[in-house]
Amino acid sequence: MSRATTQSVAEIKARNKQLIDEVLKVYPEKTAKRRAKHLSVHEAGKSDCGVKSNIKSIPGVMTIRGCAYAGSKGVVWGPIKDMIHISHGPVGCGQYSWGSRRNYYVGTTGIDTFVTLQFTSDFQEKDIVFGGDKKITKLIDELQELFPLNRGITIQSECPIGLIGDDIEAVSREKSKEYGGKTIVPVRCEGFRGVSQSLGHHIANDAVRDWIFDKSAPEASSKFEPTPYDVAIIGDYNIGGDAWSSRILLEEMGLRVIAQWSGDGSLAELEATPKAKLNILHCYRSMNYISRHMEEKFGIPWCEYNFFGPSKIAESLRKIASFFDDKIKEGAERVIAKYQPLVDAVTAKYRPRLEGKTVMLFVGGLRPRHVIGAYEDLGMDVVGTGYEFGHNDDYQRTAQHYVKDGTLIYDDVTGYEFERFVEKIRPDLVGSGIKEKYVFQKMGVPFRQMHSWDYSGPYHGYDGFAIFARDMDMAINSPIWGKTTAPWKDAPRPSLMAAE
């Protein structure tokens, strides 16, 4: 239902609290106690959202979370286009994550770029029994022969690697030496490590630090002359081209983007990043680690930004510009002014169709908070949100800058909870992932995938906002939602009163 103007915040809070109590009843006592800490109703003025986070998922509840491998290979490393990322272990992990994340890039795939190929050591029983180091050693030789233009190799560990005692670090060092100092990065992102994708991000960040920064000079492969306006985009995976529709704004305001982490990124860009004057960080969750490291080691400041929706874009452009001189500050104003007619036209077209519509979100990374502004620019209300793998600092940012009083908060939501919440609240739109999409559509609730942009995008930047607005409109206002009930079911039932 659209925003119920008759409901006061107090009423909404009471309803949400009651909903939480209701869903907790399904669990065995021990589980109910644990889950209760992850569900909350946001109180305005509080410094966080009142939930525990980044804690192990409970067995058997149908968590939506993935694993450390997904965080490293799937998110951080996978998009680096001129390196080969080996899914080291059995075939499945690489297969299920093959090409599904839509990290766009430009290159000749299979020759000088490799993002949408599935390289795996395809472990067999003998590799488990005798170890996989010999196999990965040989595999690197075969890569060098068949894919001679690769700029580097990463070894993305699947579960068995850490359990059978393989020494991929030794193999990496040895092969790097053999191939004249080639970048070969072992990544200990076995899926059983940590509680979600999140540790995989951290491990992947640390691997960049240890195996790229510590082993190469920024000048190694990038010979460009530094300028005072050099920045690096950190934590944009270029899903559907997000980093491109962001980069264009930064360049238009007079900055120079010397690296993209990691969507459409290259090894040379990673290596050159210490030359940046400012690291600008979109996905705080997955790449704050390397940003902090570069601040400590190279003295590069970093700032978070949000390129979803015109309000946040303008705010972010000004914030980024504040690190630079007047030329850039004027540049930011010029960019904001340039795109204002597009923003006005998009808003005029879509806001009347979306005004007052309610949204429930459950996503990863930064999106459970970052997209709220874009919805609000269209007159929509986010009434529930939660993180798949957020930490407390995510919930702090959410509470302090994004959500409204009374918003329902659900951390690491279970399939059961999410279904019940949506069933009772009946928002006009749910934004979550592929595993959730069809559940809610069956219920007759419009849905958009907010990981993959439902194969659309970009959603970042002004160009992306136009697509975002159109997509939300086509989801919510699709004529199909009026047809989920057969017309004969709508007909008033003949009353039996007379016969009784």
Binding site: P59, L117, P160, G191, T414, K442, A466, I467
Partner: protein
């Protein structure tokens, strides 16, 4: 500015604008440390050569673009085919997120499955507590009638013993003692998703037939006249199962479909989410022991299951994804022989219609060369059908095909004059296929969605038949088995052939003399 509120440009058009193109060119030139474009071209051309093919085929450790998934995916697929059954995969949780996503991307349907969410401590101490808590939680939350347990490679490497763990879990009160918790060990480092399907189906039948892990008496077989039917891991399960039921009903055969997931992967959008729908009832799964015979449509998905069933004194018959006239004839005649039911006129007419369609169109397929890849049974079925059409299945590749499968394929080729120049490639991947398509080109490629990369690189038009199909919608709703299903496959192949002729003849004033209105 490229974007426009009136006509909003998608990614496919947006980035072609001058501003973006200039931006990307600058990015490359200044920051990406690109290889010289002549060098890229040289390597690209080299990758098409026989010399490259030789090196490519000499690979021993590296797999690139395999056409197979891991065991638990097949386990989940099979478990979802039973009434109110929740698949439960014991091990790391990320795996389950992957299986659910993978199946949902193909079927465009929800996929319900839970994990025991094992982490570092479970790696050290074993996952018993995870299993116990997990069973209790799933049982209470999702009210299943059965929980079918499989394993990820993590649980397998540390050696968790499902039989003992489930027993202990029940003793600890996780689920009632008589609640059905069949299990199968499904290590990802053995076989592929078809193996996982096999192990899980066998595990479920073993549970019901052989005394529920020592907690109930074994069933005594009292032979009846029904037939058990097993589809195997099948991306067309929704369409196929319904077609098969129609055939059984036309023939008047009493049947039990084992692992019937055709409803759970095809629930209506009517305001209600059905976590469970349809499926083989647990009663039917148990009673299947009494059947006269069991028929499997996919030999390589059911090797262990059929051996187990045979051990219970049933006749077992395995097909290889039968497609086309003769394979369907064989399937129906086998049904008829086992059940003593005649093949009805209605099916004979369908046969005649398929032959009619093949006769009408064979001129366009005859002599065309095809490359096929996919699961071993699917490859066999498609190749046999192509031979019937007078086409040549030149390269047939199955990453999860065994050497024995390769020999069986070669025997099929030897049985037809059109198979003379055809070759099977067991255990190879799609990067091998790339070399094959460059060095020994064919007219068309048959495979799943990943084949589009081969289509792009080699220019070989792709006909999408297989699993997964992510980038085309609803194909799984149409059967590919039976005469009618074979007709669907024929039309799919013909459509692509005609599209290609049109594409190649559509250049105005140059080739469009052949842009015919009638073909």
């Amino acid at each position: 500015m490229t974007q426009n509120a009136e006509h909003i440009l998608d990614h496919s058009e947006l980035f072609r604008g001058d501003e973006y193109q200039q931006m990307l060119a600058n990015k490359k030139a200044l920051f990406e440390n690109p290889h010289d474009s002549a060098e890229v071209d040289r390597v690209r051309e080299w990758s098409k050569t026989p010399e490259y093919r030789e090196k490519n085929f000499a690979r021993e450790a590296l797999t690139v673009n395999p056409a197979k998934a891991c065991q638990p995916l097949g386990a989940v697929f099979a478990a979802l085919g039973f009434e109110r059954t929740l698949p439960f995969v014991h091990g790391s949780q990320g795996c389950v997120a992957y299986y659910r996503s993978h199946l949902s991307r193909h079927f465009k349907e929800p996929t319900s499955c839970v994990s025991s969410s094992m982490t570092e401590d479970a790696a050290v101490f074993g996952g018993l507590n995870n299993l116990t808590d997990g069973l209790a939680n799933s049982y209470n939350m999702y009210k299943p009638k059965m929980i079918a347990v499989a394993t990820t490679c993590m649980a397998e490497v540390i050696g968790d013993d499902l039989n003992a763990f489930i027993k202990t879990s029940k003793e600890k009160g996780s689920v009632p003692a008589d609640f059905d918790v069949p299990f199968a060990h499904t290590p990802a480092f053995v076989g592929s998703h078809v193996t996982g399907y096999d192990n899980t189906l066998k595990g479920i039948l073993e549970h019901f037939w052989d005394g529920k892990a020592g907690t109930a008496p074994k069933l005594q077989r009292k032979a009846n006249n029904t037939i058990n039917f097993i589809g195997g891991f099948d991306g067309y399960t929704v369409g196929n199962m319904r077609e098969i039921k129609r055939i059984f009903e036309l023939m008047g055969i009493g049947y039990t479909i084992l692992a019937d997931n055709s409803d759970v992967f095809d629930t209506p959008t009517d305001g209600e989410f059905r976590m469970y729908d349809g499926g083989t009832t647990l009663k039917d799964a148990a009673n299947a022991v009494h059947a006269k015979a069991t028929i499997s449509m996919q030999q390589y998905c059911t090797e262990k299951t059929l051996a187990f069933i045979k051990g219970h004194d049933q006749e077992v018959v395995a097909f290889n994804h039968p497609l086309g006239v003769s394979a369907t004839d064989d399937f129906l005649m086998t049904l008829s022989r086992i059940t003593n039911k005649a093949i009805p006129n209605a099916l004979e007419q369908e046969r005649g219609r398929l032959v009619d369609a093949m006769a009408d169109s064979s001129a366009h397929v005859h002599g065309k060369k095809f490359a096929i890849y996919g699961d071993p049974d699917l490859c066999y079925g498609v190749a046999a059908f192509l031979l019937e059409l007078g086409a040549e299945p030149t390269h047939v590749l199955s990453t999860n095909g065994s050497k024995a499968w390769g020999q069986k394929m070669q025997a099929l080729f030897a049985s037809s004059p059109f198979g003379k120049n055809c070759r099977a490639f067991p255990g190879k991947d799609l990067w091998h296929m790339r070399s094959l398509l460059f060095t020994e080109p064919v007219d068309f490629l048959i495979g799943n969605t990943y084949g589009k990369y081969l289509e792009r690189d080699t220019g070989t038009p792709l006909i999408r038949i297989g699993f997964p199909i992510f980038d085309r919608h609803h194909h799984h709703r149409y059967p590919v088995w039976g005469y009618q299903g074979s007709m669907n496959v024929l039309v799919k192949i013909l459509d692509k052939i005609f599209d290609e002729i049109d594409r190649k003849t559509s250049s105005v004033g140059k080739t469009d003399y052949s842009f015919d209105i009638i073909r």
